[in-house]
Symmetry: C2
Subunit: 353 residues, 2 copies
């Protein structure tokens, strides 16, 4: 995938940098890990420090000093899931800022203008996701509104600056609705497409079924992005369906909470069994955390509430995700993705010894 700020090898994983930082890590660490594309959140950044300040800094790249491509999420998910929500209408969404309580009104047009001001390479349409479970009628209404909002956003979008605009297909948990929503979004000719509103608590088999229904209707020559997915094993499944882009808070959020992803499944360092385990987090890993520190030390840091614990696990978990994405790309290029998936999926899921 080629963007204004450089190429991105796909399938790619985007670490979540909601507030213009991947929590606990520096830009240098992200570059060392092989991160090419970052996900920031236009909703959070527009509230704090504000799109105006970011523009005055010279745009988001200059503000956070990130040289590579950035994708900003529009914030639809946050506006609808935070408690701040006040009132939804066809025109837009009225809500309270979680930062200072101010009442704000977001429309699909303003969301595009805000993201143009912030200056990421890839910006997202404003959409209305639904929770899980949701009635089909609710999902259908939200998909229709997301479609109309995508259209309104595209009408005001100014492509001259070289930004790319992605549409988001919703559709709840009905395969028929997913197909229709994807078809209608594809008809609007976006630079890329996201499948939204999944990974919200539904069974994983259903996530995949919905992704499969949607992806079949989205043009294969444009990037296809499955929002919010997922564990290493879910990502392998979705790559098999043809997904190009992923983002997920799991490696970073679970890392801050004491969990390490390993090539033999997930472990929680807070567990007593690791008290005197002087081996690395993942014996098959070559990341800096695994080279430098033991499970016993990282566990001690967690028990002592030390910031370094979060850092070391966040770094390791992202290292595992980026190892996985690299290996998948090589397996695809070498025509051996099926074997790769069959070998690693059960191991990463912790299903083999």
């Amino acid at each position: 995938m080629t963007t204004r700020a450089g190429r991105v090898e796909t399938p790619a994983f985007m670490p979540v940098a909601t507030q213009a930082t991947v929590k606990s890590l520096t830009r240098r660490e992200l570059l060392d890990l092989g991160v090419e594309l970052l996900l920031c959140n236009a909703y959070h950044l527009s509230l704090r420090p504000g799109a105006d300040l970011i523009e005055r800094a010279g745009g988001l790249h200059a503000f956070m000093n990130w040289p590579g491509p950035i994708l900003t999420d529009s914030g639809g998910y946050q506006v609808f899931s935070l408690e701040a929500l006040r009132e939804i209408s066809e025109e837009g969404v009225r809500f309270r800022s979680h930062v200072d309580g101010a009442e704000l009104f977001l429309t699909p047009e303003r969301v595009i203008a805000m993201q143009e001001q912030i200056g990421a390479e890839i910006i997202m349409s404003f959409d209305e996701p639904v929770g899980y479970p949701a009635e089909e009628a609710v999902a259908e209404r939200a998909a229709g509104r997301s479609q109309r909002w995508a259209e309104r956003g595209k009408r005001v979008f100014r492509p001259e600056a070289g930004q790319a605009l992605f549409g988001i297909a919703q559709g709840g948990l009905s395969a028929a609705l997913r197909r229709r929503a994807a078809r209608e979004i594809a008809a609007l000719d976006f630079d890329g497409y996201a499948i939204g509103g999944l990974s919200v608590g539904e069974p994983k088999a259903l996530t995949l079924e919905m992704a499969q229904a949607a992806i079949a209707e989205l043009p294969a020559e444009r990037p296809r992005y499955l929002m919010g997915v997922g564990t290493p094993e879910n990502i392998i499944d979705a790559v098999a369906l043809g997904v190009d882009l992923f983002d997920c808070v799991l490696p970073t959020r679970l890392g801050r909470n004491g969990a390490a992803f390993t090539r033999r499944g997930r472990i929680n360092l807070k567990n007593a069994e690791f008290f005197d385990d002087f081996g690395p987090l993942d014996p098959e890993c070559e990341c800096q955390t695994c080279r430098d520190h033991s499970r016993a030390y990282v566990r001690h840091l967690f028990k002592a509430n030390e910031i370094l614990a979060k850092r070391l696990l966040t770094y390791h978990n992202l290292a595992l995700y980026f190892w996985l994405m690299r290996e998948m790309r090589e397996a695809i290029a070498g025509g051996r993705f099926a074997e790769f998936a069959a070998h690693w999926k059960p191991r990463l899921a912790g299903e083999t010894a």
Copy 2:
């Protein structure tokens, strides 16, 4: 200064790694900063993860993977200042663990055994500090007890492993008492000497006066360590008196709280004036934080409660301290320490524009 784990150029500053980590930083960052000697706390480590576990890991160096020399504080200060204190007698101190509430009894002999087990290069006598203000009679009694405890510790200390044992001279805020306590500790022939119980809230002029009284009685050919001092300008003053070793939580603790030490005084990044300040923390600094990020970005991270804010400021503040120590050593070697101090002291204190 030569230790079992290598040389330390003096005057030296020890970053505080109470729980076997300088809060938020990795060992690699400490090595990059030029850290040679770390301060850990035997009291904290003996409670969590426990001296037994550290010994099983192969000692503190192996446990935390720190290649250079380490000094462990005995924990006298913590035992007396934490709310856990139960009862002091000539024999020792009964208190409750702040980790699990268990009742424990520390004696000067046990404190030495514990530090031998943990395995730092430099270990400290168990002492009884007094707070500020303290009556002279109280300070005198505590100084006498610290002296007897130092003697008891030295009697059981086994130097065969190559560890060095430092005595601690107390004495409250009476110059006469400071001189007497230092003379009596010096008579016990320790490997090095600490001046304890200062920087507890007294005026800075008094800190220096007490340090000066004590240091005159301590042998110049042994390392002399002024515990808990201080700001860059206090350190310059103390080096002028002949102090070789320093430790202080200021650069790390204040950094985590939003303050940056600069070559033009201290600033607090939380202040509104830095909202749109796109310059580095300290325009005269060449550290990674100052090379990579602006005041506006670091301020945003603080306002957004991001861990990275604490990391970036901790790193910068230590970089400034290590720059200062290096420059002082060069100035001393070049016979121009007085000019160095006259130039930098007012600037570091923020007294010149």
